[in-house]
């Protein structure tokens, strides 16, 4: 009888006084014990699982949302990064079919087509991108890179300048033109552009920019003005002479002695006593065929 009563009291307490401390304490302890046991039994393998592949993730996204232009574009980008422009092109074409009013889709399609050694197809896509958005500076930039790789430097520079005119706020265009101008020995144009960038956003200038600016000024005979710029380049990136020397060695191994010599020259402009660059330049200059 008493047992029955206590049982009833317990049920009563559970139903009507569940805030009883004894009951709560017991339940919490039981729950924690059960949890600890279950967790210990079902403990996952402590070895870290392999990372999800970004391509697999985007493919999964496409299975859920097959009409997502964004998923096609990003999947295409991953294939571009992996050096598979053909699969990238297929996804960019799907993105273009879903949303032909986005100039970026056309631009990326052009990029992939160029990677597939189809420059005509690339140009058609770039033209389409400019038809959708005539103000898209980035298309001219990519078109310029394409022409540059074909050796059509004058036309490439023309496209770079158009990109700069369309969007002067992207200072990377100005810096690119300035660097190419130094290569083509158009030092005044280069100096004017570097000056312009310094006035607008000095923090945009990196070690390479200061180096080229210094070289341009040096070529124009303004050594006193060039020196602090070269020092600034070295301060921003102390390992730049070593990096240039290594690049020069790579180019020399490929038989490109002229560009290799230019790299060694740049390394020596920053650190005139760089022993490796001195020796390599001497060797490179001997190898360059005399006109």
């Amino acid at each position: 009888m008493s047992e029955k009563l206590s049982e009833r009291r317990l049920i009563f307490r559970l139903l009507y006084r569940p805030d009883s401390p004894v009951l709560l304490g017991l339940l919490l302890a039981a729950a924690l014990a059960a949890d600890t046991f279950l967790h210990a039994v079902g403990r996952p393998d402590p070895r870290p699982a392999p990372h999800a592949d970004i391509t697999a993730l985007w493919e999964r996204t496409l299975r859920i949302a097959p009409q997502s232009a964004l998923a096609h574009i990003n999947l295409g980008r991953t294939f571009l990064d992996r050096g598979d422009p053909d699969r990238a092109r297929r996804h960019f074409e799907s993105a273009v079919a879903i949303d032909p009013h986005d100039a970026t889709h056309w631009m990326l399609l052009g990029f992939a087509r160029y990677g597939m050694n189809d420059p005509d197809g690339a140009v058609r896509a770039f033209q389409e991108a400019l038809r959708v958005d005539p103000g898209m500076a980035m298309v001219h930039y990519n078109w310029g890179l394409l022409l540059e790789r074909q050796g059509r430097t004058a036309e490439a520079m023309d496209h770079f300048r158009r990109a700069e005119t369309l969007d002067p706020s992207i200072l990377e265009f100005s810096l690119l033109i300035a660097e190419r101008s130094v290569r083509q020995k158009q030092f005044r144009e280069a100096v004017a552009r570097y000056e312009n960038v310094r006035q607008k956003k000095p923090e945009q200038l990196g070690a390479h920019d200061y180096l080229h600016w210094g070289l341009a000024l040096g070529a124009l005979g303004a050594d006193a003005e060039a020196r602090p710029l070269l020092q600034r380049a070295l301060a921003l990136r102390p390992t730049l002479p070593d990096e240039l020397n290594r690049t020069g060695v790579t180019l020399a191994n490929q038989g490109n002695w002229t560009e290799a010599a230019a790299c060694f020259e740049k390394a020596l402009a920053l650190r005139p006593d760089h022993p490796d660059a001195l020796a390599h330049r001497r060797r490179a200059l001997k190898k360059i065929p005399k006109p």
């Binding site: 559970l14 139903l15 009507y16 569940p18 805030d19 401390p21 709560l24 339940l27 919490l28 039981a30 729950a31 924690l32 059960a34 949890d35 279950l38 967790h39 079902g42 870290p48 699982a49 392999p50 990372h51 999800a52 970004i54 993730l57 985007w58 999964r60 996204t61 299975r63 859920i64 949302a65 097959p66 009409q67 997502s68 232009a69 964004l70 998923a71 879903i98 949303d99 009013h101 986005d102 100039a103 970026t104 958005d133 103000g135 898209m136 500076a137 980035m138 930039y141 969007d167 002067p168 706020s169 992207i170 990377e172 607008k200 000095p202 923090e203 990136r237 102390p238 390992t239 990096e243």
Partner: protein
């Protein structure tokens, strides 16, 4: 006339002792402290991680422009850097407040790491979480006048244990969503304060009127935090319009209409002007219009629904993620017992509010928010397709808070919060859920570490080791990093130090 004479007896009488509301009322005071302690503890245990997209922004905002305060503030208007856009693409998102808090985060990362092992934490995460908890505290006090401060604190501090929020503890990405989280809390506060006030009474009280103006101004500013923030203001506005026809009180409508109008003016006129003046940018409105691409894909719709339901269960103990089924079962059992008590009480009450009337507004709010969430998935489907993103919590912070606010609102309307014993029982349930959430955050981090950020987690472990090396070794090691990480390594070593 002197003071009234008092009898010696009355002087000996002890002051009236106020009986505590309930034997275990202390639990109501301890629970919010426990919630905040869990939040702090999670911060201590969380390994910090910088999202790879954030490196460039940390360097940009963290480096001094050399033009004083003006130079630093001008960076806020450079939306291109703020969005870490793909070079040259046309993206414009009117998220000015987000950029301002991003600047604060980068500066605090730079300066605090120089003094303490602050790691890759986001200052705005802590600041806005604290502000949201504070807003919710005052909102719950207004929601049910006479609710003891301890109970309001209990309800307000619980969101600090959301797994969605805890997972963001050691994560540096961008403050847009935590700003939206605060926006949801602040909207709720404004609504609770205004629902019983009309225009006439507001104009009569000068202090109240000024507070109203400040609140509406702040809401206007918050609309520029993120798309989710403006969506929430719009959803609240729609709901208020629907309710105002019955209540004939148009003050809440006006209070949410003004910020929405400000957003339109800001996006069309103010932002382009600011960007042109301070960053030399010509805004083109190039951000794709989601309505143009809006499609009803069955797969995406079911995925969005499933992820939304996951976020709902994640708020309440998250047994699926933590695997702590017994804790969840106990919490559910206690909650059902609480429900039984309340519903019995409702049965005894003659003029109890119909259940339909109680459930209709929160369900309408959640339906609108789900529609907005679906629109977001159309624009960015990975948020429902990638397991690490669904567990990551970042995108769902505001939605999770709205679930919780609806839950508390329904509890209040059903009369759960009325009796002290009920509140104590609710505190027990919330404690169990908070412990479940705390455990779930740890397992969610494991999912993130094996997701699309897995490589970044490993790379950062390597970066930490490389940062401690001598400069020459660091320079050599840095060449093997991607450009963003390399830039950050150089910047961090130059401006902050060796430990990260």
């Amino acid at each position: 006339m002197g003071p009234a004479p008092t009898s010696p007896d009355s002087r000996r009488t002890p002051p009236p002792f106020r009986r505590p509301e309930h034997r275990f009322s202390r639990l109501l005071t301890l629970a919010p402290i426990l919630f905040l302690a869990l939040f702090a503890l999670d911060n201590l245990r969380a390994p910090t991680l910088v999202h790879p997209e954030a490196y460039g922004r940390i360097v940009f905002y963290g480096t001094s422009a050399g033009r004083g305060l003006r130079g630093e503030l001008e960076k806020i208007f450079d939306y291109r850097k703020g969005e870490s856009y793909f070079f040259g693409e046309k993206i414009y998102r009117a998220r000015l407040l987000n950029y301002a808090f991003d600047l604060l985060d980068a500066k605090s990362l730079r300066f605090l790491n120089a003094f303490a092992p602050y790691g890759a934490r986001s200052a705005s995460h802590f600041l806005l979480t604290a502000l949201a908890v504070l807003s919710l505290f005052f909102a719950f006090k207004s929601l049910r006048p006479g609710l003891p401060a301890s109970s309001a604190a209990l309800l307000a501090a619980f969101p600090a244990t959301f797994p969605q929020l805890l997972v963001q503890n050691g994560f540096y990405f961008r403050p847009a969503k935590i700003l939206s989280f605060f926006t949801a809390a602040f909207l709720f506060l404004v609504w609770t304060k205004l629902r019983t006030t009309d225009f006439k009474r507001l104009l009569q009280d000068k202090k109240k009127f000024i507070l109203w103006l400040i609140s509406v101004g702040l809401l206007g500013l918050l609309t520029t935090a993120d798309e989710q923030a403006i969506v929430m203001v719009a959803v609240f506005l729609l709901l208020m319009i629907a309710v105002s026809f019955r209540t004939r009180n148009f003050l809440p409508v006006l209070s949410f209409l003004l910020p929405a109008l400000y957003f339109a003016v800001h996006t069309l006129f103010i932002d382009p002007w600011l960007a042109a003046k301070f960053a030399g940018l010509k805004l083109d409105g190039g951000y794709p219009n989601p309505l143009r691409l809006f499609t009803l894909a069955p797969g995406l719709l079911t995925a969005a629904l499933s992820v939304s339901l996951y976020q709902l269960q994640a708020v309440f103990g998250d047994p699926l993620d933590s695997g702590r089924w017994a804790l969840a079962a106990l919490a559910l059992a206690l909650f059902l017992l609480l429900g039984r008590r309340v519903f019995e009480n409702r049965r005894r009450t003659k003029n109890a509010e119909p259940l339909g009337d109680i459930l209709r507004p929160p369900l309408a709010l959640l339906a609108c928010l789900f529609a907005a969430f679906y629109a977001m998935t159309v624009r960015h489907p990975p948020i429902v397709a990638w397991p690490d993103l669904t567990r990551g919590g970042y995108y769902y912070l505001p939605l999770a808070l709205c679930f919780y606010l609806c839950f508390v609102h329904v509890l209040h309307r059903l009369g759960f919060l009325g009796k002290p014993a009920n509140r104590v029982l609710l505190a027990c349930v919330l404690i169990l859920w908070a412990v479940g959430n705390f455990l779930a955050a740890a397992s969610a981090r494991q999912v993130i570490a094996t997701g699309h950020l897995g490589a970044a987690v490993e790379l950062q472990a390597r970066m930490r080791k490389d940062l401690a090396r001598p400069v020459d070794d660091l320079e050599r090691a840095a060449t093997s990093y991607p450009p963003g990480e390399r830039l950050f390594l150089h910047w961090y070593r130059t401006h902050v130090g060796k430990t990260f």
